[in-house]
């Protein structure tokens, strides 16, 4: 539970403070970090992160991007 909290807060921290500084921007709405947050909440740390990772992998110039809600 503690780990989950730490993880979620670090993702929120990334979303709020680090991601504006990155050179890349997400092709999706909601963004990959928000998507991962939802996934972790829903499926737990392991599968949630896995699902988030899968989303990040999809987030490349060959995918259409756009509106892609969780589930």
């Amino acid at each position: 539970m503690f780990l989950k909290k730490v993880l979620k807060h670090s993702i929120i921290f990334y979303h709020n403070y680090l991601s504006p500084l990155m050179l890349c921007q997400c092709r999706f709405h909601p963004s990959c970090s928000q998507y991962t947050l939802l996934a972790i909440e829903d499926k737990g740390i392991f599968f949630g992160l896995l699902k988030g990772l899968e989303r990040v992998m999809r987030c490349n110039p060959f995918s259409a991007g756009g509106y892609d809600p969780y589930k």
């Binding site: 504006p20 921007q25 997400c26 092709r27 709405h29 490349n60």
Partner: protein, 528 residues
């Protein structure tokens, strides 16, 4: 919204400021290189060596006045052999590619001298006995009523290698147990700033496992009993002493001799019958950690190379760089070509995202319409815009995959530039050393964060990034929000800060990469 950006910038600056302080706290050795030399000057060091019987004035760091040293000079080495203990007390490596020479081992005397032997029974006190140095050969020997001890070294031609042979003859009438330590490395130089953290002993076992000892672990008296040792490497940042025993060593010892680590092989309970001669052979590689040189010895010594957790990528990058270097003879140009290669590899991704950025302009009327309709609902506006992108199969954002793909390459290149001896002192244009900031205009004083010189490359890089932004802004039309614009303006400066003190080779990579991408952008937009 703007507050967020300002906060992010402040946080980053704090991180940049605080990180060196934390680093200095963790490893105080780094912060005070002067203190180190004071330790070396200390004359006597208390030893808790219980195992070995000899305990005379043994660990004094100066030789008695009757000590004789013989100097041997070959095409690769200049070394001294000392008669007290019969060992190699100084090794200078002739490294014509970088400097005329680097003294790798200095003032290693008595039990710290390389090839010095200390043991029980027959071999007790051998590290302070007087050996006879034979003038015509590289042999030094000692003979008394009980034994004959002969050590000889031979140099390998055109390689940074030497073979050592130690012969022990039992002259008594009974069989004896041979138990002794042979020193294989000590007093390795750490001339460069921050080099202490690179001092390391790697023990490679025959089963492929590797044990690494660093820092204070090298300075305690320690006997690691585990046989099947393939070879050991004692190294600083760029140079190494590798020793491969030709006998069954029972383990490795480390100890502190006058503030410097000394280490070597343990031989225990080797039976030697009356009149028998035992031969112990050690293959040494003593030289720079350069792939081509290490390969010459054909013992698999290239495993000594360690560029951090991405070593395999680093080695690929290094071999590409060396390939270009082999016919261009300049690592700066090699880095330029490497950058082109990586960009070519990522070209499909870049092209795709640039194309869609361009197509976006055609959608401007639709965008305006949606924007008018959803003025009061930003969440819905975002969703609608994303839907629009999807419908027309356009998306201005590159997504993170190209970035993520480049990340490991970037980190690996950073490690390669910082750690590989090949790139040490490699010049390019006004840059003296690609592994250091370019120091275009040296200042006489220190500016906090930025060091004591004006670096030109990071400034050029900021310029290139601003230019790139201008090009992409003009292409997409000013559809950016105020926040995005602010980020866009801060980004290059932030990057400039981060890159300012990094190796100039790395900045060169990023600069070239930026220039290449923006030229591609420019060309694609012109040809619409």
């Amino acid at each position: 919204m703007e507050k967020r950006v300002i906060l992010a910038v402040t946080l980053s600056i704090i991180v940049i400021l605080v990180y060196p302080m934390i680093l200095a706290k963790i490893n105080p050795n780094l912060a005070s290189p002067i203190q180190k030399s004071q330790v070396v000057e200390k004359q006597v060091v208390v030893e808790n060596n219980i195992d070995i019987e000899t305990k005379e004035a043994e660990f004094v760091n100066v030789l008695p006045s009757d000590a004789v040293t013989k100097n041997i000079s070959t095409d690769k080495y200049d070394l001294d052999i000392t008669n007290i203990g019969g060992s190699v007390s100084r090794i200078l490596i002739k490294d014509s590619k970088r400097k005329s020479g680097i003294t790798l081992v200095t003032k290693a005397v008595r039990s710290a001298g390389i090839l010095s032997i200390d043991g029980k029974g027959l071999l007790s006190g051998m590290s302070s006995q007087v050996f006879q140095i034979h003038n015509d050969t590289q042999t030094f020997s000692l003979e008394n009523n009980e034994l004959k001890l002969e050590k000889s070294i031979s140099f390998l031609k055109d390689k940074y290698g030497l073979d050592a042979i130690i012969k022990i003859t039992n002259k008594t009438t009974i069989s004896q147990d041979l138990s002794f330590d042979i020193t294989a490395g000590s007093n390795i130089s750490k001339n460069e700033l921050y080099e202490t953290r690179y001092i390391e002993l790697d023990i490679h076992y025959k089963d492929g496992t590797v044990k690494k000892l660093t820092g204070n672990k090298l300075l305690v008296y320690n006997r690691l009993y585990k046989n099947d040792i393939d070879w050991i490497a004692f190294k600083n940042k760029y140079y190494t002493i590798i020793a491969k025993p030709g006998f069954d060593s029972k383990g490795i010892f480390t100890k502190d001799v006058a503030g410097e680590p000394a280490l070597g092989f343990i031989v225990e309970d080797d039976k030697i019958i009356a009149g028998e001669t035992r031969v112990y052979k050690i293959n040494f590689y003593i030289g720079p950690m350069e792939i081509k040189e290490l390969e010459k010895l054909e013992f698999g010594f290239t495993k000594v190379l360690n560029f951090g957790f991405l070593t395999s990528i680093s080695l690929i990058l290094l071999s590409i760089l060396q390939f270009f270097y082999s016919f261009l003879h300049n690592y700066g140009v090699s880095i330029l070509l490497l950058t082109l290669c990586i960009n070519l590899f990522l070209y499909p991704l870049t092209f795709k995202s640039l194309r869609s950025m361009q197509k976006l302009q055609e959608l401007q009327p639709h965008m305006e319409k949606i924007r008018q309709e959803n003025k009061d609902n930003p969440a819905k506006l975002n969703k609608e815009i994303m839907e629009l992108y999807r419908r027309y199969k356009v998306n201005p954002m590159g997504g993170c995959l190209p970035m993520i793909l480049q990340m490991p390459v970037f980190i690996a290149l950073y490690n390669t530039l910082g750690r590989s001896v090949e790139l040490k002192n490699a010049p390019f244009l006004w840059i003296k050393d690609l592994s250091m900031p370019d120091a275009f205009f040296p200042l006489g004083f220190n500016i906090p964060l930025l060091g004591n010189a004006i670096n030109l490359l990071p400034i050029l890089m900021i310029g290139a990034m601003i230019l790139q932004q201008k090009i992409s802004q003009s292409a997409t039309g000013s559809s950016q929000s105020e926040q995005q614009k602010l980020i866009a303006n801060i980004m290059p400066v932030m990057f400039g800060f981060i890159f300012y003190s990094l190796p100039s080779g790395l900045v060169l990579y990023w600069l070239t990469s930026t220039v290449v991408t923006s030229s591609m952008q420019f060309l694609i937009y012109r040809h619409r």
